[in-house]
C-alpha cells in the first residue's frame, strides 16, 4: 500500500513540477513577446496611457485610424479593437483601463453582428494570461463555477499560444498606428455572411448587458461616451432595423450620443472601399476616419 501512495505522490509531484516549470516558461515568453495581439493586450491591460479609447471588434480594429483621429481632436487616442471579440471582452478591457483614471473619452463600435455574435464569449480566454494580475479579469474568467479548477494550472492560461510565442514575430508598430490595423490592398470579396438575428436574439441580453455596463460606468466616472456604427458595404432591412433598435434603446435609457455610419454615403455599396461586407479596406478606413474625426469634434 505504501509504495502505491508513493507512486501516486511521485506522479502528482512530476505533474505539478512540469506544470509550474513549463507554465513559467510560457509566461516569460508571453510577457516578452512582440507578437501583435499579445503586445497590444499587454499595453491595454498594464500600460494604457491614452485619453480616448476605442472599443469593439475587427470593425473597430480596421476602421478607426486612431492616429488620424488623434491629430484631429488633439487628444491621445488608442484603438483597442480586437478581431472576433464582443462586448464582454470590451468591458473587461474598459475596466482595466479606467483604473489609472486617465481615460477621458470612450468610443464603442456597436454593430448587429457583434451584439448577436454568440462566438464572442469564447474568446475571453485571450485574457487568461492576465488572470493573476487583474482582479477584474480573474473574477470574470474564474468566477464561473467549475472554471475555478482550470486555473490551478500555470500552463492552461497559455493554451494554444505556443506556436505564436515561438514562431510568430508579426509585430505591428502599434506606437505609430495606435492600435489601428489597416486592411491594406484588400480587394472586395462578396461574402455569404448571413446572420439569423431571429434565432440569435437570446444572446442580445448578454451583449446589451455589457454594453450597458460600459455606458453606466463611463457616466459614473464622468467619461464621455459615444456609440458608433461604422460603415457596412450593404445592409439588409433586418440589419437596419437592429441598428435602429440599438440606437433607440441606448438613447432612451442613457441619452448618449450615437453616430450611425452604417450607410455612410461616401462608401456605401462601393466595392473599392471594402474588403468584405463588414470591413473597410485601408482606403475606406482613411475616408471614414477623416469624416468621423470632424463629426466627432462638432458633436
Amino acid at each position: 500500500m505504501g509504495h502505491r501512495i508513493y507512486r501516486i505522490m511521485f506522479f502528482v509531484f512530476v505533474l505539478v513540477l512540469s506544470d509550474q516549470i513549463f507554465g513559467a516558461f510560457l509566461r516569460k515568453l508571453y510577457f516578452s513577446s512582440d507578437q501583435k495581439e499579445f503586445s497590444k493586450l499587454r499595453y491595454i491591460i498594464r500600460d494604457f496611457k491614452a485619453d480616448v479609447a476605442i472599443f469593439g471588434s475587427s470593425r473597430s480594429l480596421h476602421h478607426f485610424n486612431a492616429k488620424m483621429i488623434e491629430d484631429s481632436i488633439g487628444l491621445k487616442v488608442y484603438n483597442c479593437g480586437f478581431a472576433g471579440q464582443g462586448m464582454e471582452f470590451s468591458f473587461l478591457q474598459f475596466k482595466n483601463i479606467i483604473k489609472n483614471g486617465q481615460l477621458k473619452r470612450v468610443i464603442v463600435e456597436v454593430s448587429p453582428n457583434i451584439l448577436f455574435d454568440k462566438e464572442s464569449n469564447e474568446k475571453l480566454f485571450l485574457l487568461a494570461p492576465f488572470v493573476k494580475e487583474s482582479e477584474v479579469i480573474r473574477d470574470q474568467l474564474i468566477g464561473k463555477g467549475t472554471d475555478k479548477i482550470k486555473f490551478f494550472s500555470e500552463v492552461l492560461p497559455f493554451n494554444s499560444l505556443l506556436p505564436d510565442l515561438l514562431f510568430n514575430k508579426n509585430k505591428v508598430e502599434y506606437d505609430s498606428l495606435n492600435g489601428f490595423e489597416p486592411l491594406i490592398s484588400k480587394k472586395y470579396h462578396r461574402s455569404n455572411l448571413e446572420i439569423n438575428y431571429i434565432n440569435k436574439t437570446n444572446y442580445l441580453s448578454n451583449s446589451i448587458y455589457y454594453l450597458s455596463k460600459i455606458i453606466e460606468e463611463s457616466i459614473s466616472n464622468k467619461i464621455n461616451i459615444t456609440l458608433v456604427t461604422t460603415p457596412y458595404h450593404d445592409l439588409s432591412k433586418t440589419e437596419s432595423r437592429v441598428i435602429n433598435f440599438i440606437k433607440d434603446y441606448t438613447f432612451q435609457k442613457y441619452k448618449i450620443r450615437f453616430m450611425d455610419y452604417s450607410k455612410f454615403e461616401k462608401v456605401y455599396n462601393m466595392d473599392v472601399y471594402f474588403k468584405d461586407k463588414l470591413h473597410l479596406n485601408f482606403e475606406g478606413a482613411q475616408l471614414f476616419s477623416s469624416y468621423f474625426s470632424s463629426d466627432y469634434i462638432k458633436g
Binding site: 502505491r4 513549463f22 497559455f158 505564436d164 514562431f167 510568430n168
Partner: protein, 476 residues
C-alpha cells in the same frame, strides 16, 4: 454532458468513489441513478424513450425465454420492431419524407405529409443496437433473460458507453453488474491511463485538426485540390481520434469501477487491407452487423454472387446507421465495394505480386499496403464528411486534380495540427508494436509511465482544444 467537460470530470469524481463505498446491493441503484442523470444532462425528456424501449425489451426477453415455438419468434420480432421503429422515427422520418417529396415532385405532385422538428435522442443508434443484441441473444439461447429490471436497465443505460458505445453484448456486460467489484489500485491506474490517452486523442489531436477540416470543408468550393486532399487526410485522423478517444475514456472510466468493456478500436490505420481495417475500426459495430445481419443473410455460406450481395448490403446499412443522408449510404457502399473488389481480385493481385517478386520486399509491401488502404478509406471519408453527394463528388474531383496552392488557415492552427499529428503518430507506432491500448499500461513500468503521463497531461493543457467540442459520433 460531454466527456471533455469539467461537468463530467466532477461527475466522475463523485460517482466512482461513492460506488465503492456503497454496499454491493445498492451499487446498481447508484450507477443507474448516475446514468439517468448523465443522459438527462442532454435532453431530459428523452429518457422516456429510453425507458420505453427498456420496458419493451425487458419483458420481451422474459417472454422469449418462457415461450416455445413460434411465440418466441413473435416476441423477438415485436421487440425488434419496437426498437427499429423508435430508431426509424427519430432518425429517419424526415430523411424518408424528404425523399418521398423529391420523388413526388418529380411526378408533379406535392407531398402532403410535413417534416417534423425532431431532435435526435442522443446515443439512440447505440443503445438501440445494444438492446437488440440482448433480445437476439436470448432468442438464440446464448443469454439467459435478465429478471432484475434494474440490472437490465443498467445494461442499456450504463453511462460510460450509453451515448457512443462500445456497443456491448449481454454475454460480456450483463453478468458484470451482478458481480461485486472490489476497488483495485491496478485497475484504477489502468483506467486512468486509458482516460488520459483518450483525452489526448480527443483534445490534442481530433479537436485541433477539426479547426482546419471545418474551415476547408465548410467552404470547399474555394479551396484547391491540394488543400482538400490535406483536409481529407486530417479528417481521417480527426474522426479516428474523436471516436477512439471517446471509447478510451468510456472503457477507462468503466475499468476503474471494475467493468470490462470491449475494445472498440485497434489502430485501424495500420491495416494492410480493407478487410483488416474493418476488423480494427469500430469493432463493436462491425461485429454487431456481422453477427446479427451478415450471418443471418447467410454470410459467405451461399453462392458467390449472393455472398458479395450480403457484404454490400451490410455495408450499405452500416452507412445508413451512421446518419440519415445519402452521403453515409455512399460511404458505406464504397467500403462494401472495396471489400468485394478486393475479394474478386485477390488471386490476380497475388499472381502479379508473385511475378513481380514484390514479396521479396516485405517491409516495402507493408508500407504500400498500409498507404493504399489509408488512401482508399480517406476517399470514402470524403462522403462521410460532406453534406451532400454533390459536394463529395466535387471534392473528389478537385483532389484528383491536385491543383492550386495549399491553404494554411493560420500558422498557429497549422503548426498545432501538424505537431499533434506527430505526437499521435509516435504514440500509435509505439502502441502498435507493444499491442496495448494506451502507453505503459503494464504496472512494472510505473516510473516511465508517471513521466510520460505527466507530459501527456501538460500537452493537453498547453495545446489541447478546450472549447468543449462535441464528439462526432454523438450525432449518430
Amino acid at each position: 454532458m460531454l466527456f471533455n467537460s469539467m461537468h463530467f470530470v466532477l461527475f466522475f469524481l463523485l460517482v466512482t468513489p461513492i460506488y465503492f463505498v456503497l454496499p454491493h446491493k445498492f451499487r446498481w441503484m447508484w450507477l443507474l441513478a448516475a446514468s439517468c442523470y448523465f443522459y438527462m444532462a442532454f435532453v431530459p425528456v428523452y429518457i422516456l424513450i429510453l425507458g420505453f424501449t427498456i420496458v419493451i425489451d425487458y419483458f420481451a426477453g422474459i417472454y422469449i425465454e418462457q415461450s416455445i415455438g413460434k411465440k418466441r419468434k413473435l416476441f423477438l420480432i415485436f421487440s425488434l420492431i419496437a426498437n427499429v421503429g423508435v430508431l426509424a422515427f427519430f432518425k429517419y422520418y424526415n430523411f424518408i419524407n424528404e425523399n418521398i417529396t423529391s420523388i413526388l415532385y418529380g411526378m408533379d405532385y406535392e407531398n402532403p405529409i410535413p417534416n417534423l422538428t425532431i431532435l435526435l435522442p442522443i446515443g439512440l443508434s447505440f443503445h438501440t443496437f445494444q438492446a437488440m443484441s440482448y433480445t437476439i441473444e436470448v432468442y438464440r439461447g446464448n443469454q439467459k433473460a435478465e429478471r432484475h429490471f434494474g440490472i437490465y436497465s443498467l445494461y442499456v443505460m450504463f453511462y460510460p458507453q450509453l451515448v457512443a458505445g462500445p456497443i456491448e453484448r449481454p454475454q460480456n456486460l450483463l453478468h458484470q453488474f451482478h458481480k461485486e467489484h472490489e476497488f483495485s489500485y491496478d485497475r484504477m491506474i489502468e483506467g486512468l491511463k486509458l482516460m488520459v490517452w483518450g483525452y489526448f486523442m480527443k483534445l490534442v489531436v481530433a479537436d485541433r485538426l477539426a479547426i482546419y477540416v471545418d474551415a476547408v470543408y465548410d467552404n470547399y468550393e474555394m479551396h484547391s485540390g491540394k488543400t482538400l486532399a490535406l483536409a481529407t487526410m486530417f479528417f481521417a485522423i480527426q474522426i479516428y481520434c474523436d471516436f477512439a478517444g471517446y471509447s478510451n475514456i468510456a472503457i477507462g472510466s468503466a475499468r476503474i469501477m471494475g467493468f470490462d468493456l470491449m475494445t472498440n478500436f485497434n489502430r485501424p490505420y495500420f491495416s494492410k487491407s480493407i478487410s483488416e481495417f474493418w476488423s480494427r475500426w469500430h469493432i463493436s459495430l462491425s461485429t454487431w452487423f456481422k453477427d446479427y445481419l451478415y450471418i443471418s443473410l447467410g454470410g459467405n455460406r451461399v453462392s458467390v454472387p449472393r455472398w458479395y450481395f450480403n457484404l454490400f448490403i451490410v455495408f450499405l446499412l452500416s452507412g445508413l446507421w451512421h446518419g440519415a443522408n445519402w452521403t453515409f449510404v455512399i460511404w458505406g457502399g464504397l467500403n462494401g465495394f472495396y471489400l468485394v473488389f478486393a475479394i474478386i481480385t485477390e488471386k490476380v493481385r497475388n499472381r502479379i505480386n508473385s511475378k513481380l517478386r514484390i514479396n521479396y520486399f516485405p517491409s516495402l509491401i507493408n508500407i504500400i499496403q498500409v498507404a493504399v488502404t489509408f488512401v482508399l478509406i480517406s476517399i470514402s471519408w470524403v462522403f462521410f464528411r460532406s453534406s451532400s453527394a454533390h459536394q463529395g463528388v466535387s471534392i473528389i474531383r478537385d483532389i484528383v486534380s491536385f491543383d492550386g496552392d495549399l491553404f494554411l488557415l493560420n500558422r498557429s492552427v497549422f503548426i498545432l495540427s501538424v505537431f499533434s499529428l506527430v505526437l499521435l503518430g509516435l504514440g500509435e507506432y509505439y502502441l502498435e508494436f507493444t499491442k496495448v491500448s494506451a502507453p505503459f499500461l503494464e504496472k512494472r513500468q510505473w516510473l516511465p509511465a508517471s513521466i510520460v503521463y505527466a507530459v501527456i497531461v501538460i500537452f493537453i493543457l498547453s495545446i489541447g482544444s478546450l472549447n468543449g467540442g462535441q464528439f462526432i459520433y454523438f450525432q449518430f
